[in-house]
């Protein structure tokens, strides 16, 4: 058979996925709290650290976690990037700044958008505050927070912040151990 045909270089073959996620016992209280406008973390009694989001297990010790800790909607930028590239499937229009934000009271940063300031003003150690969407549209999601904005407080030394947080975690760990002994 003659196979001297024009090559077909590429043709569209779209694939779509629609998932239905099941909420675990650990994440359910967090999702309900989000709907109330409250941010929950989990205390790991093995390490004394406060995990966020609370997925129900401590990644360091493997211990199941369930003790809720209410976190603040203020925090500190510990890392960030400004994205200039459009990402397929994303509604965000570049440039936009995504930061790793350590909420006050947590030991684990979460990613969120920074807005209401110039891109060049964003810095490691910047203090930020959550800007919530109107309460009527709150759902079981961190999307209830639209973005974070600078508080105007002075920059924080993040190495010192880490030492303070680790010292507090150590105290919580000892306290949890004491509770078990008693």
């Amino acid at each position: 058979m003659d196979i001297d045909l024009d090559p077909i270089e590429q043709f569209d073959a779209p694939i779509y996925h629609r998932y239905h996620a099941t909420s675990s016992r650990a994440i359910t209280p967090f999702l309900h709290a989000m709907k109330r406008g409250e941010i929950l973390g989990h205390l790991s009694t093995a390490t004394g650290k406060v995990l966020f989001p609370p997925l129900g297990a401590c990644p360091e010790s493997g211990e199941a976690t369930h003790i809720p800790v209410i976190l603040s909607d203020t925090g500190t930028v510990i890392g960030f990037t400004t994205v200039h590239l459009p990402i397929p499937g994303s509604k965000l229009v570049p440039p936009f700044t995504v930061a790793n934000i350590l909420l006050d009271g947590a030991d684990q940063a979460c990613s969120h958008l920074i807005s209401e300031c110039d891109i060049d003003e964003v810095a490691i150690g910047m203090r930020v505050l959550a800007v919530w969407r109107p309460a009527e549209v709150w759902n079981n999601s961190l999307e209830n927070i639209e973005y974070f904005k600078p508080t105007g407080e002075p920059l924080v030394d993040i190495d010192a912040l880490q030492q303070q947080c680790l010292a507090k975690a150590e105290q919580r760990k000892e306290a949890a151990k004491g509770g078990q002994d008693a």
Partner: protein, 388 residues
């Protein structure tokens, strides 16, 4: 576990790692496999098992490609195993294959890793919408940019270091006929003036989207003499992993990276990698990961890796004492799933004296390295010209 010596008898790569619109996935992997078999002086019938590796299935939209590709790779009625550790998978796949020889289970294994980035979009595939979180993932560059910024903060390295790596690896790539990018006119200013993608990472400080496959034939000592070319020998290999996120995770110099290198060097009796190795092929998809890994892998003290780059120590063209990525590295070709195996294979070619224009004169011992996920999967091997 038995401890048989492992020889790398054949290396095969696809012609050039640029976008290939007239070659199917099956054609791609078969080309690399046939080249590896030819180098090893073997036939399909000489192969006992097939070990395939690739990065996330969403990179092509083919789920379980190992099932569809087994026939193209002579896998009918043979054991077929698929390995997946994100971007490090090419390295992990080589190690899984080597362990099947080391254990004595098989005499000859064909191992293949591939990616055809032109079939999907890696930025999309790496930016999935997660349950109960806002959707603003921004691909691998977005994930690593804060890590690079943190390295810059801690080390106080001059801003030019990343640009210098970008130039050095692209100049290396000119000597590699397989390299996707051939940019002979590149210089620091071209890199500096290229668009910012994920601050502080510029376009020319990032890897390209490439299509390609890499294959190796690994053999037990008793079966290592089929080729007219001498084999390379595995002296050490190690893998480590850690979770993506945990409190105060060290992202610049991950614990798993340090542990993996420590294990590797202990096996090979290496205490001073810069002195005892002749070259290294290290996974550097964004320019600043050269100084980051120079430090993590013990080639430089903490905070000092960037000095080696600036001094030209890692440049083959400048006669550096420890050339890194003579192939042009991931910055010049990134068929993601294959990229780790290319590092491992290029290290083997160097100690076999078969790296042609990119050869480091007299290379006897070389490092192949790969990392993946959120800097959380690590795979490394050391290969040598002589038996361990």
């Amino acid at each position: 576990m038995s401890n048989h010596r492992v020889a790398i008898c054949g290396v095969g790569q696809t012609e050039r790692y640029k976008t290939k619109l007239t070659c199917s996935l099956a054609g791609l992997v078969r080309e690399a496999a046939l080249n590896a078999l030819a180098d090893a002086g073997c036939e399909w019938s000489d192969i006992d098992a097939l070990i395939i590796g690739k990065a996330p299935d969403m990179f092509e939209g083919v789920v379980m490609p190992e099932a569809y590709l087994a026939e193209a790779l002579g896998g009918v009625n043979k054991p077929v195993i698929r390995v997946h550790t994100a971007g490090s998978v090419g390295g992990s796949t080589a190690i899984v294959a080597a362990n099947h020889i080391k254990s004595g289970l098989f005499k000859r294994v064909l191992t293949v890793a591939f990616e055809k980035q032109s079939e999907s979009n890696a930025h999309w595939a790496l930016s999935p919408s997660m349950p109960f979180r806002p959707h603003f993932n921004s691909g691998a560059g977005g994930m690593f940019a804060p890590v690079i910024r943190e390295y810059m903060r801690r080390s106080g390295a001059p801003e030019d270091v990343g640009c210098q790596v970008a130039v050095k690896d692209r100049l290396h790539a000119i000597k590699n006929p397989h390299a996707h990018l051939h940019l002979p006119d590149i210089d620091i200013d071209t890199v500096k003036n290229s668009p910012m993608l994920w601050e502080p990472t510029r376009f020319l400080e990032s890897c390209p989207s490439s299509d390609g496959a890499c294959a190796m034939v690994l053999a037990a000592e008793s079966h290592a003499d089929t080729s007219t070319h001498k084999p390379a020998w595995v002296h050490a290999m190690a893998m480590r992993s850690e979770p993506s996120f945990y409190p105060w995770r060290e992202e610049v110099n991950p614990e798993a990276s340090r542990a993996c290198a420590k294990d590797l060097y202990a096996q090979a009796g290496i205490t001073q990698p810069r002195k005892q190795l002749d070259m290294a092929e290290v996974y550097v998809p964004f320019s600043w990961f050269e100084p980051i890994w120079l430090e993590s892998l013990g080639f430089a003290e903490s905070g000092q890796g960037w000095r080696l780059t600036l001094e030209g120590a890692t440049s083959r063209d400048q006669g550096g004492d420890i050339p890194w990525n003579c192939s042009g590295g991931v910055l010049s070709s990134n068929p993601i799933g294959a990229s780790g195996m290319i590092r491992f294979a290029e290290a083997a070619l160097q100690v076999r004296g078969m790296a042609d224009q990119r050869q480091v004169e007299g290379a006897k011992r070389a490092l192949g390295h790969a990392y993946g996920g959120h800097s959380q999967f690590f795979a490394m091997w050391i290969v040598g010209a002589t038996k361990p």
